[in-house]
């Protein structure tokens, strides 16, 4: 179908372990101040380093605050003409755990508060949306939600879209990644030769997408999807390369136009080796690269949306953030950003990869 519209991010709001606002988050990313700490609460026999939101408010109260922030900072009166697109990998799992561990029974679990769309269910109790749907593709959930927003707005199907990436910490994810042996007990070191794993984290990131820009907008220029078709947890370079190539085609730009890549960069051996090799193949002109997960942790289904906000900040402030905890890169072909610095940034590519070999790359650009 012929594309009708350009798509712009006109407002955004976030909270995670590294900041209670977009501004605080980006400042901490640029200054190398991590929100990741050791924690004993989510595992009975290990002390992994994780990223927990420190707030007197509950996760759901914080979710409502972020969505209200979007409304307050937009030209919208309400969300009655807005498509809500949620991306989450665990939905209401933390609430399910709480009930099940207390009662050893499913009896008092409310399905609407357990499922992935538990987050949409909560939001719909406070806001009225035109329609809503929830994506759950593990760690690409909210990147795919952004991709879908790009698709429906560029095709002229809906007037605007609110993308929400939200995942809370729970024992299932912490215990699950522990069982896979991929959690670090320190803030992670993405792409470092001595990296030893990732940090599970929680986060909420909301972005309003419209077809008319405002003065602070960033364009969501393109999206690329692919599947590895290879393994449930081991990545394959063919898949990530295809996602990045598809994103470039969707944005109709040459790879040399990309100035900065916000990598998926989890800090695991498998991801970072494969991703670095893929980037080296697709981007021979050596754009700046960093992973911000050493500051935020891996917010799983929320990561795509949270890192989209980071990409917007890079373009708005023309500032490329440092690769915190990266001392010696495993892949020395790449141009890692070892310190935060000002430079001209026209396009940013943001990668998200997930279990099942689900890949999504997004391209953001300056409004022209």
């Amino acid at each position: 179908m012929k594309i009708k519209n350009k798509v712009f991010i006109t407002s955004s709001s976030s909270i995670c372990c590294a900041g209670k606002s977009n501004e605080e988050l980006f400042k901490n990313i640029c200054n190398g101040i991590t929100g990741i700490k050791k924690d004993e609460h989510y595992s009975y026999d290990a002390t992994p380093a994780i990223g927990k939101i420190e707030s007197p408010k509950s996760f759901y109260e914080n979710l409502l605050v972020q969505c209200q922030n979007i409304l307050d900072n937009s030209s919208l009166i309400d969300f009655s003409e807005t498509l809500l697109i949620l991306g989450s990998s665990v939905g209401g799992m933390s609430q399910t755990e709480e009930i099940f561990f207390k009662t050893k029974s499913y009896k008092t679990i409310t399905p609407q508060e357990h499922n992935i769309d538990a987050i949409a269910y909560k939001l719909k109790q406070h806001f009225t949306f035109y329609d809503d749907l929830s994506f759950s593709t593990a760690c690409t959930s909210s990147a795919n939600a952004l991709g879908y927003a790009h698709e429906v707005l560029s095709k002229g199907i809906y007037k605007n879209a609110l993308v929400v990436g939200a995942d809370s910490l729970c024992q299932t994810t912490v215990g699950g990644f522990l069982s896979l042996g991929v959690l670090s007990s320190e803030p992670c070191k993405p792409f470092d030769i001595d990296r030893d794993g990732m940090n599970v984290a929680e986060g909420i990131a909301c972005l309003l997408l419209e077809t008319t820009p405002n003065e602070n907008s960033v364009e969501l220029c393109g999206v690329g999807y692919s599947s590895d078709a290879f393994h449930m947890t081991q990545p394959h370079t063919n898949g990530s390369q295809m996602a990045m190539q598809n994103a470039l085609s969707s944005a109709n730009i040459n790879s040399s136009k990309v100035n900065y890549i916000n990598a998926h960069g989890t800090g695991t051996i498998a991801n970072d080796t494969a991703e670095a090799n893929s980037i080296a193949t697709i981007f021979p002109h050596k754009p700046y690269i960093s992973s911000t997960k050493s500051i935020t942790g891996h917010t799983l289904g929320a990561a795509g949306a949270l890192e989209a906000i980071v990409a917007c900040k890079v373009i708005q402030l023309q500032r490329v953030p440092m690769s915190t905890n990266l001392t010696k890169a495993e892949n020395e072909e790449l141009n890692f950003s070892f310190k935060t610095h000002e430079c001209s940034v026209e396009y940013v590519l943001s990668n998200s990869f997930a279990f099942g070999g689900n890949n999504c790359s997004l391209i953001f650009g300056k409004v022209k």
Partner: protein, 209 residues
């Protein structure tokens, strides 16, 4: 906005506790892969074979996801036992369709939607929007609710395993089927619109966005 979808093929399978004869041994000859498959993956693989899916873009969905894996994890955590890494990797909502992509070497776009009781309606809406690009899409939905003590939360579903698949493309033909959420047989309501399309062998469906 309305989009009409032509249903090129469809299939519905269901069982009160389990769907029998999924032909998994023949469809997945490698034992090392077969033994890792979840019930939802086996159903998705069977459906894809029966309606001859190859490398189409797929919109998959499930309201409850991999409930058997999630129940196993909850019981492990409750007993302070380590979670099985295989069970954990099989607990994400896109598990079933990821195994299908591996089996069919499908490297294209594969989405997973989970929207509660609106899951199949939203699969149809997303499928219709994507089908505007002119290709044929596969829409697949499963629920696999057969876990111990499910009766503690289930009083309205008679079929604990259900899978439905539609192969669709956009058409200008007039609709022959109106979307219906009628559910006299007590199927999971999350899949009902797609179930009714498959049951009625609908030819052209109107999707209202």
């Amino acid at each position: 906005m309305k989009i009409n979808l032509e249903v090129l093929d469809s299939l519905l399978v269901y069982g009160t506790t389990a769907i029998e004869e999924l032909n998994t041994k023949e469809l997945v000859p490698k034992m090392v892969t077969r033994r890792r498959l979840t019930r939802a993956a086996k159903i998705a693989i069977y459906l894809a074979d029966q309606i001859s899916l190859k490398s189409e873009r797929i919109v998959y969905g499930s309201s409850f996801g991999e409930i058997p894996a999630i129940a196993t994890i909850l019981n492990s955590l409750s007993s302070k036992e380590q979670i099985s890494p295989t069970v954990f990797q099989n607990s994400v909502y896109n598990t079933a369709i990821s195994y299908l992509s591996m089996l069919n070497s499908n490297k294209g776009e594969i989405m997973t939607i989970s929207s509660g009781d609106s899951t199949s309606l939203n699969i149809l809406k997303a499928g219709a929007i994507k089908a505007l690009d002119g290709d044929t899409l596969a829409l697949i939905a499963t629920e696999t609710l057969n876990v111990e003590n499910i009766e503690q939360v289930n009083s309205c579903v008679d079929f604990l395993e259900v899978g439905v698949a539609l192969k669709v493309r956009v058409t200008t033909k007039e609709a022959t089927h109106k979307l219906s959420s009628s559910n006299s047989q007590k199927f999971p309501s999350s899949l009902i619109e797609m179930i009714n399309i498959a049951k009625d062998k609908a030819q052209v469906v109107e999707i209202t966005l």
